[in-house]
């Protein structure tokens, strides 16, 4: 899984702490997701989708292999 979280965060001008507050998670969780060390739960993915106003699949990009 690839993520565009860092790019979207930069687009909106948020730091990790600010995004973490908005998504109601810790900064560590945001950092882990950005480094692709953690696949977020559906709830956090939906919250991030609302914050950036982007569909989940445009934030988290899966390989065909992972989806089949």
């Amino acid at each position: 899984m690839k993520t565009r979280l860092k790019e979207l965060r930069a687009r909106e001008g948020f730091n990790q702490t600010e995004l973490a507050k908005r998504a109601r998670v810790s900064r560590q969780t945001i950092s882990l997701i950005e480094r692709e060390d953690l696949m977020p739960s559906l709830l956090i993915a939906v919250r991030l989708s609302h914050i950036f106003n982007e569909p989940i699949e445009k934030i988290f990009i899966f390989d065909e292999e992972e989806l089949s």
Binding site: N15, T17, E18, V25, S26, R27, T29, I30, L32
Partner: protein, 226 residues
């Protein structure tokens, strides 16, 4: 094959280490340097306790600064690392303090030294409690339990999110596996020592066995019931 090779090397190192211990009459050596060991271990414990307090003080000092952007993220990362360092220093300090008290009592040191070691245990316990309360400075916006709370560990776990749990799980699983291997190794060492030196370590062997069974049973019951 690699694992068997590693086990054989480990067994050989263990055998030679135990043989050296036995040959040097470990028990008598320990008795004769009881005072030095009490002072050195007490010193290490004191130093680590001091390190814990220094880390706590640095966290509190930096927590009050108002930062934004990248600097805020860097501060958070720094505080998290400092908090981990403070916890490690505090825990190690307490363990060394208890060892110091144990050595002072077993090797029959002077009353002043025993009282000093006891005070060190109490001080390091206070350091550990202070270390727990500093988490409120690191995360002032979060609903975290008080250090004095009876269910502190349970409530703290409940307050963590999935990323933090992911990190904790990785750390705890690795520590759990190491604990099992190291305690079984310690039992083996005690058995060899007891047989070789004639000084029975049966009590320690039984205590380790009980700890191992308790920890593994607790883990399995937790996993099985979910």
């Amino acid at each position: 094959m690699k694992t068997i090779g590693k086990m054989l090397v480990g067994a050989m190192i263990g055998f030679f280490a135990t043989y050296t211990l036995l040959a040097s009459d470990f028990e008598k050596t320990m008795e004769s340097i009881g005072l030095e060991m009490t002072v050195v271990l007490g010193g290490v414990s004191f130093f680590l306790g001091l390190l814990c307090i220094m880390n706590i003080w640095q966290i509190k000092k930096k927590a009050t600064a108002s930062l934004t952007g990248e600097e805020e993220d860097l501060r958070d990362e720094w505080q998290y690392k400092k908090y981990s360092d403070a916890t490690l220093a505090g825990n190690s300090s307490l363990i060394f303090a208890i060892s110091t008290l144990g050595i002072a009592l077993v090797t029959k040191q002077s009353l002043a030294l025993i009282i000093g070691a006891l005070l060190l245990v109490i001080t390091t316990l206070i350091c550990n409690t202070a270390g727990l309360s500093v988490i409120k400075f690191v995360y002032p916006d979060r609903n975290l339990p008080e250090a004095s709370d009876k269910n502190y560990a349970k409530k703290l776990l409940a307050a963590t999110d999935e990323g933090e749990r992911h990190v904790m799980l990785e750390g705890l699983y690795s520590a759990y596996n190491s604990t099992n291997i190291l305690l079984i190794g310690a039992m083996g060492l005690f058995i060899i020592y007891s047989v070789g030196s004639g000084n029975s370590q049966l009590f320690a062997i039984l205590v380790i066995a009980i700890v191992l069974v308790t920890v593994n049973t607790q883990y399995m019951f937790k996993v099985r019931s979910k």
